[in-house]
Every structure is written in structure tokens, then in C-alpha cells.
Symmetry: C2
Amino acid sequence: MTTKQLISEIKKKQSFLCIGLDVDLNKIPKHLLKEDDPIFAFNKAIIDATHHLCVAYKPNTAFYEAYGIKGWKALEKTIVYINENHPEIFTIADAKRGDIGNTSTMYAKAFFEDLSFDSVTVAPYMGKDSVEPFLAFKNKHTILLALTSNQGAFDFQTKEVHGKELYKQVLETSRTWENSENLMYVVGATKAEYLAEIRDIIPDSFLLVPGVGAQGGNLQDVCKYGMNANIGLLINSSRGIIYASNDEDFALMAAQKSKELQEQMAEVLSKQSW
Amino acid sequence: MTTKQLISEIKKKQSFLCIGLDVDLNKIPKHLLKEDDPIFAFNKAIIDATHHLCVAYKPNTAFYEAYGIKGWKALEKTIVYINENHPEIFTIADAKRGDIGNTSTMYAKAFFEDLSFDSVTVAPYMGKDSVEPFLAFKNKHTILLALTSNQGAFDFQTKEVHGKELYKQVLETSRTWENSENLMYVVGATKAEYLAEIRDIIPDSFLLVPGVGAQGGNLQDVCKYGMNANIGLLINSSRGIIYASNDEDFALMAAQKSKELQEQMAEVLSKQSW
């Protein structure tokens, strides 16, 4: 999917919501455990109930890997289901990969070719040659970790490197890499005030913002500081939506929570002139 | 496996060789492609031929993920085969994972419980709460990326943070984390001279050293600067061993290359007093 198509979908749906499909068998409704593939059954129900309210789905691969082969099958079925039924939806493999060059190419093939995701999250620690193999794929997007929403973000990301925080160095340096137009960035919502400075460095890029809701971020603040002329935001919610209920009404409640966020987003969008 | 058991194996086998099982179907001998599971067939032959010469196997997960479900089945069969036939061998899932707390727990379960690896490589960018969930597993080891062997290591890892290189900050900070005795570190061999300074910060930890051979590192230098009183080194070779030949004699040639390295290691060990 091109960035232009993503922007067009956001305008059409009046939503820049991304739903995180982080399925934990201990948290899903008990009645689903009787299904052949409870993970896929859960995802399918969530997707069926919410696809008109969001523009992106983001399965975190950890939740699938934890269940071994069964988990990978469920991940594969989920991405196939989205791509076949809702090809207009942007898909993110939240995998946080990164390795030396030839190995990163294998990861890129895994997510862009074998599983046909539109994008994958990548960690920056190993530098340019660990990220460029992902960037080489046309109309695919590499979402680089910049400033994450967890407490550990303060261990290294916000430390000063030559007078500038490490995450800012990551933003600046990554702009010089080949095919950097295929970059997006993970920026945690718990630090909305940082977004203005981030926008100074990368005015045009899309930001994937986790941590609105459960992790304490505020939607209005994120939009105020993070939005650009092309919207430039995907706001993720995982637990707040998919575990809104753990009873038989879970999909309905997920849709309701999604609708609440979508309406807030529509309101923000209505105040802008596109 | 405990660190004590690993040290005991190193002394018994007179080897601290780790073999990287990075299987690329474009590089393995053509006759194996007829097999039901060419990846596993290749690994099994390499393991059968080399298990007495090495103390660790390290499959890089990227090479398995690139082949989807089939790849994950091959990874699962490989780790089961090693654990059943050679339980004395230390196993490393070279996965370079790392995520927020509850998600890292899922990754830890995937590699330590579902797949029963002894250790997993983890990226430090997201800090303490992204690594501690791995450290919580008893007799399992978390191998943190410190200084990698690729060119991109100079993008961020060697940049100065408050007057000290980032990778040194990672080493120092990680020592303060809970259960830090379960930490090992990835340190690239292409910078053997850095090892002396690294040993000042983490005198007791095991180092996993990639980049000897194919990537230009020198075994003698690595041992000179990196060895400690408990040996403290695992030296990895992947392509140099497993692709020593791409003909029917591939396993024999892999054994020969392993033997050459093992003999160099035995010589180094013979000069020390343990």
C-alpha cells in the first residue's frame, strides 16, 4: 500500500485508528477456547466488528510466537483474512526486528513477501545496514522505533548523544538512509510534548503512536503536537479495544470502544482544513 | 543449562565454538532440496558431523521465519533434535527480540518454554523493562546486543552518551537490572581491541562473539582481550562452517572447518591455567 492510499483511507473513514491484535489465550472469552483455532476466531470476530472504524491492524508477533506453530498459523490466517476481505486496511507486523544486512533481508522477506504485511516495526540499535534491507521493498513501510512508550525508554533513548537525545539522533540519521521515504516511526504517546520537537526533525513522516488509553497518553495532545499536513498519525490501541469485554459480547464492545475513538478522531479531523 | 555446566563442557571438549545454523535454501547443496524438510535435513547433517567439536548451536530465527510455517517447523525440529540427542549443548535462539514488558514475557515464553532454548539474543534499545522479563527465567540466559559486528554498529552503538560510548552504557546499565547474573553479551570480533575495555566493565559475563572468519575477526586477538578466568567466550561461526562446501561433502567439510577452529581453541586453552 502507498502512503497516498493510506491517507485517502483515513479521510474516507474519518479515522486514523490502528487496532493491536495482541491475543493472549488467558484473556480472551472462555467460549472461544473450544474453537479449532481460538486465536484466529478471536481476531476474525474483532476484525468483522471493527474494520469500518479503523485504518490499520497491528498484530504483535510475540503473542503468536508464544504459541509456536499454532500461533504462526493463526498469524498467517489473520493476515490472509485481512488482505482478502479488507485490502484497503494497512497492516503492521509489530515484530521489532533488526539484524545484520543479509539477515534483515530474510526478515523483510518473511513479513513483506511470505506474510504480505504492508509494514514491519524495526529496532534501530544495529544501524543503517540493519534497516536498509527493509527499506528496499517498494510500497512497503519500515516503522523504526524512535521513542517508545515504556519506562525503559528513559534508559537509553532519552540519553544525550553529542548534545542530543539518542532518539533524535535515530530520527536524524535514519533520514539519510537509502529509500528513507519508506520510513515511519514509533513514538510513544506518553510523551506528547516531545512530538513538537520530533515534528521539527521529521515533518513529513507518519508516526505510529502506541500508548493512548491504557498507557496514559491523551489523544487531543497527540494530535495537537503530532499531526502534519497529511495527518501523519496512526494511533494504536490494543488492550483497551480487544479486551473491552471478556464475555460473549467482546466483539460488540470492541466495536463500541473503537467507535468512541473514531468519533474523537473525526472531530479532530473536522477542525482541520485538508 | 547453568553457566557452570557450559564451562565444564568447554573444558571437556576443549572448544568454545558456537555454530550458527543460518540455513538459506539458495545456498545448501542441491540434492537436499528433494527432502521433505530440506532445512532440517541440512541441520541434522551438520549437527551429526560437528556436535563433538562445538559447545553451542545458534539458529538465527530470520532464516526460518522467511519460510513461514515450514521454516518454524524446521526450527522446532532442529531444537528438539539437539535437545534430545545432545542435551549437553548450549542452544541460542538468535532472535534479537525486545518489546514492552508483557510482550517481552511472551517472547521469553516462545523461546524458553515453547522451543526450550537455553538462551535468546535481545536488543537493548527499549531498556530495562523490555529485558527483565527474559532475565526472570531460571537457568536461562539472555544475550544482550552490546557491540555488533556490522558497519551499522558505528551509527549509534559507538556514539558517546555522557562521555561514554552507548554500548558501554548498555553494559553498565544492564548490570543493575534484576537477575543480571543471567546476562551474556554480543560483542563483535571485528573490534577485538575494544574487548579489553569491555572486560573492565563486565569481567565475569560470557561474551558471544560473532564475526570471526567471514567478517574479519581474529581468534587469537579475541582470546587475548576477551577471555576471563572462566573462559567467558563463545565464538560463533556460521557461513564459514555450514557453507564450507555446497556439494554432497558439505557435512564433512563443515566438520573439517569446525575441527580447525576447535584445534586453535584447544591450543589457546592449553596455554591457560584453569
